[in-house]
Amino acid sequence: MSSPILETETKPAAAAVVKPLVEAAVETVAEPVAELVEEPLDEFDDLVDLSTDVPSVQATAAAAAESPLVEVEAETPSEEACEDFVDLSGSDSDSSQEETLLEVPADSAAASSDPQDVSTALPPGDVATGSAAHEQPGALLEVDIGQASANGEKQPLSEDLFFDPLANLADAGPPPTAAVKQPAPPPQQQQPPQPPLDLFEDDPNDLFGESRHAKSAKQQPPQPSSLFGEVDEDIFGEPLGAPAAKKAGNMASREQRETTVGTKTSGLGGGGAGAGAGFGDVGGPLNNNYEKEPADIFSEEAVTIAPTAAKAAAAASSSRTNGVHGAAEEGDIFAEATVELSLDSPRADRKKNTTAAKPSTSATTLSSAADLSKTHSASLEEVNSHVCIYIHVHISASTSIHTTLAMFRTKTFTVRRRFSDFLGLYEKLTEKHAPNGFIVPPPPEKSIMGMTKVKVGKEDSSSGEFVERRRAALERYLQRVVCHPSLLQDPDVREFLEKEELPRAVGTQALSGAGFLKMLNKATDAVSKMTIKMNESDVWFEEKLQEVEAADQQFRKLHGMVESLVVHRKELSLNTACFSKSVAMLGSSEDNTALSRALSQLAEVEDKMEQLHQEQASCDSFSFAELIADYIRLLGSVRGSFDHRMKAWQRWQDAQTMLQKKRESEAKLLWANKPDKLQQAKDDIAEWEAKVTQYEGDFDRVSSTVRKEVVRFEKEKVKNFKRQIIKYLEAQLKAQQQVSLCSDGV
């Protein structure tokens, strides 16, 4: 099944690998993608190698071939909230046993056409694209490539089916994440397989030798507290399970490509992200780049956290240099430090094809989550007439490596959380940590408008976008939380991640009494802020505060600009669509055949341009505007911590004044010669001295936290902007392709 791909995988040109995938593809939409790949290689070979991961497509294709880690889930809720599952589980090339679960609950409308795509056992790309061709609204497809046997039961995905092939992983290279499991990784994995600069050209063979190695290594150490199946689950699940932070407006073909490769790393947080980053790079054919980035970021953050500095550094360097497969192992080594986490999207797309291809796969990787996997896709449906967005929190912490993470009972688990739970978590964290000067990452704001839209407008495509947007925002929020070494230790965080049921968060409603109280508190805070006059002793903080204020202003402005850009782009897209239709009409009534053809070609090109603009718009809004919005909120938090620092200073000053007073009174007592009270005065002085020291310590701690936070802040910024540029690059590549098509036509 995978032979065509295996044959080509050794060729240097990535295009060669992608081509077969695409050629066989049912949908022609995929074609430009292949061309896109060729293009950069032709023209900007070195540049691309360096910066755009295109070569990694190769590796991906190979990976997909050897162990088809491909899972595509396309879901579109039906009217009655019943979904059709079509599950083609990735089968090993070695394992001949193939089983597929075709789940066709009540609504079998889509079922009839689904299997034909699915059961043909095409190479990964084909199936993926094929599933893109499914445009039945009201069908939820979960497609894992390769297995084909239908069983019409109405049960959720059973994960053993999914992991079955993993049992005989022997030959298939397991994803590099396997290394996570190694308490004592073999030497090869401790250093990058290639020097960092070479890493850009990941050679598939190399890669697989590597991962095979990882696999064998993995099996040596006994797995302490977990079933074997769970390990496999992890291995397999991590690359797969990370859901794509999918943009709603994405072109179907793109999505397919992403999902085909099955390497969504955006969901991987923390150290696991190191592995994820490596793998994500491999997987990201073109557009994955940006998806992969978050993982990079977090692996970097892991660097700051991880005690094993050198390895971390190596990993960081490789992940920074973008697209280094070998780095995956390195990443794994310090994966210990953090928690991998992903949010599974509830995907409220009650809509058609384009958004349908979204992988919400983490659920399927979890045995415990198996039954949830079904509900989660329907999670956008009403619950008690209140629309709940349930977010899947997928955690896989590797207990075997890091002791701190022993606090988690199991390696992988999934919980369901409401949006208000996230807010509740934030409330708790701020209460506890903010006074200490920690910058508690703020969750996304409540949007009554958006929520109402979701509740009311069932068929609105924007509601799907809204949900996706919120999902991504929440994911980023959680990742920020778990990346924070101190916040991760917090029992509330663990409870949030682990506990099956959370008590309903109270006081998060904007209009409730608690909300009102909060507003009151904020007001008093603002007043006190004005009254406190702090003569700043540390120039650094003074400067930083000013900087933050200025940055806040600027970012707000920028956000407004980008938003308007998005609006204009959408407008442009709309107008282009109109024009395209109009030109098509014009072409149809043109009596000169050549001109008629040219016009219809033009219409086609404009049509593509329209999609392109739309894509760019959503790219702008998702990877740029959202990012900026995040930073505006984060800056708010930073300012909050500055305020807390100021408060700490105030306390310190108060204590000092008090101490002064006590000393004076002691002197008075001494003078008045009253020894009985003298002792008490001395005690007081000692107490206040202690307090002064303590407050001073607080003050210092706040300072260090702020400094640390700023560093992280900047690193993240670098990454994110790079991502944005990559995005533009791809879009323009596309534009160029299509435009040249136009010229051909004329």
Binding site: T321, Q554, H568, F579, A594, A598, K722, I725
Partner: protein, 413 residues
């Protein structure tokens, strides 16, 4: 605002029409002066024809003069069988002016740099509108000069040669109303005579085609205008983003500074290219569609005139029949009928010729413009691509260096 423009420099010649380069009569508008609402064109003529007194001369003309020339041509009976080149549209400087006004209001919210850029952008737009205006007027005259019959028109020669102001009276209210009324009558008449059975297949086809095509091309033109406008908006957004980014980078003191700078730079460059894309699209596509929309209208007018002649002929036939029945005034009716027939035949003949050549011209112009547009778009896309790559490369390089720093700064265990 007063813009003096030398069109000679970097002139793109007649985008919308392909004209045969007959050296006997060469007309161009090398200069135009914009004063408030009026645009004064300098019409320059070079000729070898003996009917002109001099071989080389220039005259000042206004938009109204062009309209007058067009109207007289339309009203001339002999030219009924010709497609009269469409009159140039009235110069429209309202929208850039309005934008300029808006910009002035929003000045406070922008940085100085941003404002200057926006202003430049608007000025460029204004200039583009101006250039376009000059061009359509020029094209009108060139179409006339390249036409074998129309180039010999008396009024046309007066227009070119008379070195004083033509001082064409602007249409007064009555005439305006009269024109409006005439249009109404014409429309009603069109409906009436549409019932008459067409005798010639060629014209029948041509009529359905043109009617259909006209509505389609009108639609396309409107859509294309909208599209280019929103494209310009996007380009304008880039200005703001770039400005904000650069002010962020100015405030920033950390490692990210460079990235912001680069990104701002990229946006600035992208803005320029995006703006070019928009204006090229405007020039090559929208303008083309717009011109042919008007041209097709002119062709439709020809068809109408012919159909009118046909109707007249039929009426005269009827009149002749009646006269024969009453055996009265037969010679007059016969003469009338012959006259109508002649007129109709002449119209049909020249109309057929005109329409055929029109079709060829249209195809050639579309072809030329579409190819040019495609080439330009490819060029722009490539430029953008290179810029993005470079920016990406710079950023990636910086990140790599950062990574190497981390590697070297951290002690190995």
């Amino acid at each position: 605002s007063l813009v003096q423009l030398a069109c000679n420099s970097s002139k793109t010649r007649s985008v919308s029409v392909d004209l045969n380069n007959d050296t006997a009569l060469i007309i161009d508008i090398p200069d135009a002066l914009c004063e408030r609402d009026k645009v004064k064109f300098t019409v320059h003529t070079k000729t070898t024809l003996s009917s002109f007194q001099k071989p080389d001369f220039s005259v000042p003309r206004q938009h109204e003069d062009f309209i007058w020339l067009h109207d007289t041509l339309v009203e001339t009976e002999e030219y009924a069988g010709l497609i009269i080149p469409p009159a140039p549209p009235k110069p429209d400087f309202e929208s850039p002016r309005e934008k300029m006004h808006k910009l002035g209001e929003g000045e406070a919210t922008m940085t100085k740099e941003e404002y200057t850029k926006m202003k430049q952008e608007l000025e460029a737009e204004y200039l583009a509108v101006f250039k376009k205006t000059v061009q359509v007027h020029e094209v009108f005259l060139q179409r006339l000069s390249s036409h074998p019959i129309l180039s010999k028109d008396r009024n046309f020669h007066i227009f070119l040669e008379y070195d004083q102001d033509l001082t064409v009276r602007r249409k007064n209210a009555k005439e305006m109303f009269g024109g409006f009324f005439k249009n109404m009558v014409k429309t009603a008449d069109e409906v009436i005579i549409s019932g008459i059975k067409e005798v010639d297949d060629f014209f029948e086809q041509e009529k359905t085609f043109l009617l259909d095509y006209y509505s389609k091309i009108k639609d396309s033109t409107i859509k294309a205008e909208k599209m280019t406008r929103s494209h310009k908006n996007v380009a304008d957004d880039y200005i703001h983003i770039s400005a904000t980014l650069s002010s962020i980078s100015a405030d920033d003191s950390t490692a990210i500074k460079k990235h912001f700078e680069k990104l701002a730079d990229l946006f600035e460059k992208l803005r320029k290219v995006e703006g070019r894309v928009a204006s090229d699209q405007e020039l090559k596509l929208t303008e083309l569609l717009r011109y042919y929309m008007r041209d097709i209208q002119a062709a439709k007018d020809l068809l109408y005139r012919r159909a009118r002649a046909l109707a007249d002929y039929e009426n005269s036939n009827k009149a002749l029949d009646k006269a024969r029945l009453k055996s009265r005034d037969i010679p007059q009716a016969e003469e009338q009928q012959q006259l109508c027939l002649q007129k109709f035949d002449k119209l049909s003949e020249s109309g057929k010729r005109e329409l055929t050549s029109f079709k060829g011209r249209r195809v050639v112009a579309f072809r030329k413009n579409l190819i040019e547009m495609a080439e330009l778009e490819i060029k722009h896309a490539k430029v953008m691509l290179t810029m993005i790559y470079r920016c990406l490369f710079d950023n990636a390089y910086a990140i790599m260096k950062l990574a190497l720093n981390v590697v070297t700064s951290r002690p190995f265990p």
